[in-house]
């Protein structure tokens, strides 16, 4: 199956419906009875009461249409399950599955996929950069926590040199988001951002 369907939730999140490929092939059958026979042969356990409305909703017997009718049904059900209105799964568009992943094949920035209208999803770079900075801050906070015991010990032992080194190290960590932001902002593509790494200060106790 080369197609999937894309929709947008009210918070801008992009949903991608991937219909059961056997169901899609079945919906291309010349009659609904043939479709049911095919599904039974492939042991899909899908009842005629489910398949028949989908079959009849198709305006053309094509894969794109089959993907559309299944995706519309399931996107609406997803919206209702999440306490939204059925039409909140809006701007449903059938598109090539391969092209969908092209901008972010690794799904590294999947949370940052956004769409303009009914267009294909793309990585929203400001969101992606914000996600990366959030990750940097989370890592920074962990490194600060890891050095807590070391600086307390230095204070207790009145080791001024060690205290000074640790203090400088920790200050560099605190400043890291601000100092690295310009380089993050310079990343204009998902690939550049995925390759970007901050320059972490060296832990004096390591």
């Amino acid at each position: 199956m080369s197609h999937c369907a894309c929709f947008t939730l009210p918070d801008g999140t992009v949903g991608i419906v991937r219909p059961n490929p056997v169901l899609v092939v079945a919906l291309l059958a010349p009659t609904v009875a043939d479709a049911m026979a095919f599904l039974d042969h492939r042991k899909q356990g899908l009842a005629a009461t489910v398949v028949t409305p989908l079959y009849r909703a198709m305006v053309a017997r094509t894969e794109q249409e089959a993907v559309r009718v299944v995706a519309e049904r399931d996107a609406r059900r997803l919206a209702l399950a999440r306490g939204l209105l059925p039409d909140d799964a809006a701007a449903l568009t059938v598109m090539e599955a391969t092209g969908l992943l092209a901008p972010d094949a690794s799904r590294r920035w999947r949370n940052c996929w956004r769409r303009a209208g009914a267009g294909a999803p793309a990585v929203d770079m400001p969101l992606a950069r914000a996600q990366r900075m959030s990750e940097v801050r989370r890592e920074r906070t962990a490194r600060l926590a890891a050095s807590d015991s070391a600086i307390m010990t230095a204070h207790e032992q009145n080791d001024r040199a060690r205290t000074t080194a640790l203090t400088a190290y920790r200050q560099t960590l605190r400043d890291l988001p601000a100092t690295t932001r310009p380089t993050v902002e310079a990343c204009t593509t998902p690939a550049q951002l995925e390759a970007w790494q901050p320059t972490w200060p060296v832990d004096p106790t390591a």
Binding site: V14, R18, N20, D74, R77, L78
Partner: protein, 302 residues
């Protein structure tokens, strides 16, 4: 020979004259002897007919009787007659309590009764057809020493066979258990021991998974049952949508991911959808894609 001359006087004094003699001789020669005098009173009859008593003291002739016809009595004073019909090779004579009998074909529905011994049952050379579409057959009890329900010596099963020879019903206190298909309600109740599970209704049993699926991080389904789609709404955030819904949102779903560093957990669900999240073991508050997802759901189906 001695001759006498009339008149003749008898010893009792009566006299026989010549005239008397002439009258008697003429009567004997030209007339009839009546029934009271030991005769028939007849001087002729109908060809092909028979004489009969038309009164206590008289005989008469019947009409001509048809060749090979059966003779019917006419009653007092009436002539016997022939049965009008000779019948055919496929008819038999049917009695009539108040009238003449008639020839007619045998009506199996009204003319035949009793039990036909098995040894007298004719060999069949063609198909049996029935207008009502069914032929009920009662099997005889098996003899002593038989074992198992079919050979029971205490149970008489009844097999109903349709016009094409198909068994359409089989009832017995013990044997019906293996042959009647369980209904959806019986499958869902999961308590009957007298009906059989059929492939088309197995999935109604509460112990059977109503849906299952295996898919990858992009939501592409590899194998599934009663599944229409997987929707990917983010990393480690997939919604599994099934075909035939559960009767409510109270069903049990289980999910596992094919990646040792993630755990899957279930979100509040609807009757036809199940959101499944995958979180990294080291980052429990951050959704992370699993390489491959597996899920199954159990419960009461609508």
């Amino acid at each position: 020979m001695a001759w006498f001359t009339a008149p003749v006087t008898f010893v009792d004094g009566s006299i026989l004259t010549a005239s008397d003699l002439n009258t008697t001789v003429t009567t004997i020669r030209d007339g009839t002897v009546t029934v009271p005098h030991g005769g028939t009173g007849l001087v002729g009859g109908t060809s092909g007919g028979i004489p009969y008593f038309s009164s206590a003291t008289a005989l008469a002739t019947s009409n001509a009787l048809t060749a090979n016809a059966l003779l019917l009595g006419g009653g007092a004073g009436a002539a016997p007659s022939a049965l009008a019909s000779l019948g055919t090779t496929t008819t038999v004579l049917h009695g009539n309590a108040s009238g003449a009998p008639t020839f007619a074909a045998v009506a199996l529905a009204t003319d035949v009764s009793g039990t036909l011994a098995a040894a007298q049952f004719p060999a069949l050379t063609g198909d049996i057809t029935t207008s009502a579409g069914a032929l009920a057959t009662t099997l005889a009890n098996a003899g002593p020493g038989a074992t198992g329900p079919i050979g029971s010596t205490t149970v008489t099963p009844v097999i109903t066979i349709d016009a094409k020879g198909r068994v359409t019903a089989f009832t017995s206190a013990t044997i019906a258990a293996g042959l009647a298909a369980a209904t959806q309600a019986e499958m869902e109740a999961a308590s009957s021991t007298t009906v059989a599970t059929t492939p088309g209704r197995t999935h109604y049993h509460p112990g059977v998974a109503k849906a299952w699926a295996k898919w990858n991080d992009a939501g592409t389904i590899a194998a599934s049952y009663n599944t229409t789609s997987i929707t990917d709404t983010g990393p480690g955030d997939h919604t599994w949508t099934i075909g035939t819904d559960f009767s409510s949102s109270d069903f049990a779903a289980v999910a596992v991911g094919e990646l040792t560093s993630v755990t899957l957990h279930i979100r509040p669900q609807a009757a036809g959808t199940q959101q499944i999240l995958s979180a990294g073991v080291d980052t429990p508050f951050s959704n992370t894609d699993a390489t491959t997802w597996h899920a199954a759901a159990f419960g009461d189906q609508a």
